[in-house]
């Protein structure tokens, strides 16, 4: 037997296995058997789709939540009850002791390392600033010293000039005093 003949035989055999007679739709009978379904259909015709209903529901829920939050906030703010600070502190301590785990400790260690590094950097920067200030002060001192030296040199030169002028004047006077006798000697020699 050929392959196509086999296939045809199989196809026909499968079709023959279908229960007979086949099903037939009878909407009238279904309507009578399911009046509640038709009622639901007619009720659903006036109902909004589920997506719209969900949106509305979400909005209502959000509004309720907001109202609740506002109510709690108002209640807290308007409460006349005094705070028990000591009890609050004790509670906080206990809570912190319980809640600090190994991970938190590691985080703290890392935080500390980072802080130390920051501190070292800042210290180095501050040290550099102080050094710069000292160098600047030294430079100013040297400049001042240099200026004072110059002043001293100027005074000395002035003194020298004054001395020179005084010497020159004395020399002039000496020469003037010496001139008449010399002239008399020259006349006598001529005579």
């Amino acid at each position: 037997m050929k392959a196509s003949d086999k296939d045809n035989r199989l196809d026909l055999a499968i079709s023959r296995t279908a229960p007979r007679p086949g099903p037939a739709a009878d909407f009238g009978q279904w309507q009578q058997a399911h009046p509640e379904a038709l009622a639901a259909l007619k009720a659903g015709a006036h109902r909004q789709p589920r997506s719209v209903r969900l949106l509305l529901l979400t909005r209502v829920a959000a509004l309720l939540l907001l109202t609740l939050a506002v109510g709690i906030a108002i209640g807290r703010l308007s409460s006349k009850q005094q705070f028990d600070v000591e009890r609050l502190r004790t509670d906080l301590e206990t809570s912190l002791k319980v809640s600090i785990t190994e991970a938190v400790r590691q985080d703290l260690a890392q935080e500390m390392e980072w802080r130390m590094a920051q501190y070292a950097t800042q210290t180095l920067a501050a040290s550099k600033a102080i050094t710069d200030q000292r160098i600047s002060e030294l430079s100013q001192s040297m400049a001042t010293a240099r200026w004072m030296d110059r002043q001293r040199v100027v005074s000395a030169l002035e003194q020298v000039e004054v001395n020179r002028l005084r010497d020159a004047a004395q020399l002039g006077l000496g020469l003037a005093a010496l001139a008449p006798p010399s002239n008399e000697i020259r006349i006598r020699g001529t005579q």
Partner: protein, 185 residues
């Protein structure tokens, strides 16, 4: 009694209009959809239950459920797929209920055995079809019992046309293998 073949059906646009009209409360439109899809739904349920009467009840129940949820259907162009899913869920629920009830009894009531083929070939084919895994049995039942094409099966089962073709081909191979094991060449 009105009998309408699903192939005498409607284009997508008309079907969408019918779905829209039905969910506005138009019973006549619902009737046309019912007539269009009833047979397919019976075979979808049959593939799971392997019981004609139960399959018909299940298909009718699926329509009733679909009526109640029609307002929630988002894509009116996928009514067939949506209805098929409701029907399959319904059939699985029925199957679970029946298994619980008949746990100690004969598992499934046998359909009337085919009389054609005195050598037992048709009986062997029937058993091979019934023993197929569900995804394969669904396409075999819809294709051979309801004369549905690939495109229609794609619409009702919600799987691609290529997937339908692949399943049908593998189902035939499995049936062939089962028949060879029983000595039918």
């Amino acid at each position: 009694m009105t009998v309408v073949d699903w192939r005498a059906g409607l284009d997508t646009q008309t079907e969408q209009n019918l779905v829209e009209a039905a969910r506005s409360g138009c019973v006549e439109s619902l009737g046309r959809l019912y007539e269009r899809y009833y047979t397919s739904m019976v075979w979808v349920a049959y593939a799971i239950l392997l019981d004609r009467d139960l399959a018909e009840d299940t298909a009718q129940e699926a329509f009733a459920r679909a009526c109640a949820r029609l307002a929630d259907l988002r894509h009116t162009d996928r009514f067939g797929t949506w209805l098929g899913r409701i029907c399959r869920n319904e059939a699985h629920q029925v199957l679970r209920g029946r298994r619980r009830q008949e746990a100690a009894k004969v598992p499934i009531e046998e359909e009337v055995s085919p009389t054609v083929g005195s050598d037992g070939y048709d009986q062997a084919v029937k058993e091979a079809v019934d023993q197929l895994p569900l995804p394969y049995r669904e396409v075999v039942v819809l294709h051979y019992y309801n004369d549905m094409g690939y495109e229609q099966m794609h619409q009702v089962l919600g799987i691609s046309v290529d997937c339908v073709k692949g399943r049908l081909s593998r189902a035939r191979k499995r049936i062939g293998t089962a028949l060879r094991r029983r000595g039918f060449d």
